[in-house]
Amino acid sequence: MNEKHSLRYASMGLAFALAGLVITTRLIQIQVVSPNAEILNYEALDGKEWDTLVPARGDIYDRHGHLLAGSQLIYEAALELDYVRNPTTIALAASVELGLDYHEVFLEASQNPKDAPFKHITLDYFVPYDKAQELLELKDQLREDPAKAGESEDGIPHSLSGLVITPRLDRSYPEGDLASNVLGLVDKEGNSHNGIEEHLQWLLSGVKKEEYVSADPFLAMDIPEIYDGASLVLTIDREIQDTVEDILDVHLEKTGSYAGSIIVMNPRTGEILAMASRPRLDLSGEWKLDEVYQEGQAFNMAIDGYESGSVFKIITMAAALDSGVATPDTPYTDTGGLTVEGWTIRNWNGGAWGPQTMTTCMEHSLNVCLAYVATEMLGQNRFYEYIRAFQFGQPTGIELAREYAGHVRFNNDDNWHLIDLATNSFGQGIEVTPVQMLRAISAVANDGKMVTPHILKAVINRGHQYTIAPEIAGSPISAETAHTLSAMLAQIVESESYTDMPENIRVAGKTGTATIYNSGLTNASFVGWGPLDDPQFMVYVWLNKPTVSQWASLMASPAFVDVVERLMVLMDIPSDSVRLSMADG
């Protein structure tokens, strides 16, 4: 090999060496001198290898698509101990920006990750948007220009590395306290309480997944897909709910009642159009369940138990008519008392009402008459067969958490006595819920067919809407009995005993006053439905412990009338005269 060739080889060697040097230099520059910001920001993106993937919670809408429960953007501030460089800076920023205790945060951030029980420590679940942005900006500034940031007293450069600000969705209730008793709520920790939020938690929340999540771009497709929780469309009509809540509030004030509930249901389908209950929570603000609901206070009175009083006479009379032991005109002479097992049943005014018919017994709400019907005409076996057929003592299955099943002592129970039959006939000694009463009485309004009250109209899951079909709960009475009893109850509403009832629409209904044991107070109720020939609404009113008067005819009936007048407008129900003339042509 001559010198000329040696020079060429040397040149090639030099070229290769230079290329190698350039590559090495570039590698050092990329890795050490000016590393890619995204790589440095790795821990901010997600430093954890195992992560909990939380699906977005489903929304809740009213029947017309108004959002009742949705999600709002908030931020969570947390410590990732593996990445903490300067606990002092973190404690300082957390105390100034988030108002947290400096020493507590400092102690948390100073933990050795190897010894700490948790490497991820949440400092604040609810960081407002502006505070979160300020912290993120400060963190970026300290990272980009550490020299300018200086050092803390212990000589460590200021750094917010390890302080992670993560956006997340939190429950939001745009309507405030509207339908709060129906919705229930989700607390800061994501736990649901009461209402449909708790009952359908499994459907709304979706399924969390603990998965290996890596920032490695080659594993980008390995990130598992999680499905958001299903959204719900309720049968509730926002406008009717709002109106009924207003009416309930007004009448609670007027009557001096302790609490109350008004429910509006479609008796043909069982759809709950409104379910008002008080007390209510304003879900849009800060709330404390314990402060609003005293011990023993139901979150939603519509699914809570009570002795309904005389509205239950509808059930007794339905049984009597259906079994053929009575007709509307069957005579009865009221002597003012009926003795059963040594106990004397008396009428609401303690008086004797003389010659009556079944219709006037219902009109004057005579306890003695109905106790006679149950004990002497129906008998215990037949009476409790009907109670079973009307499904008392069984929850309706409405999609609300903590529905009370009620309490019935049947004649085959050990602690049952004949006096129970007498008192049950007029709604005492038997615990029912308003939704149970609606289920049972819907048979009277709906040609003998009892509907299941429900509040869930449809479920939206993975882009498809599944509509829930109405359900017939049973047929405890015949259509003929239903029509006869409806006519009776319409007749008594039009009688002198019921004043100020709606004049432009024919309705059927019944009051109920039940004394609360040993208190001197009452539960005042009213159930009614209309229009009589084509029932489109059934309204149940329950006022707990009214103090202005103890009688339901004075306390609960006016609330029913107010609700009916507004329903006619909100549900586009013309007066009977207009409706029938339109039907004629």
Binding site: L73, A220, K457
Partner: protein, 159 residues
Amino acid sequence: MDRVQQFTQAYSQAPWRKQLQGIGIFLVVLVVILLAASVFVSVTAKTAALGKEIQRNRQEIEELEFEIANMESQLAILTSASVMKQRAIEMGFRPATSEEIMYIHGPGYMGRDHVELAEPAQPTTATAPVISPAFTQSWVDWLARQFRAPLIPLAEAGP
């Protein structure tokens, strides 16, 4: 023959030519390896870039979903029943009574029905895949499928 002898003689007279031949073969192999490596690096780099883009897009999707959910809530607050009622009162409206409403008969009008926020669910039916496996499976998948293929009819036959 003369030419062969001339060639042999030439190599024996200049042994560096043999070395050069060896170096040439080495360089050819090196170039092939470098080409393969560069193709690998190029594909890997593109895959990494796409992977990173997928990650960024996913993050962006999540952020946008958060934003959308937040804005839907804000919109719902602005159009809530209490706000709308207050605005109506401020504008001089009051609730109508049933006597003030005039009804007109509209043949076929069924009233206001509940909202459809998504496509109604249809009964699920088996459908053929739109994309042929030939366009989606790797050669390893194809090979595995070929091995499994004879078993499929047996497995599908059932008891």
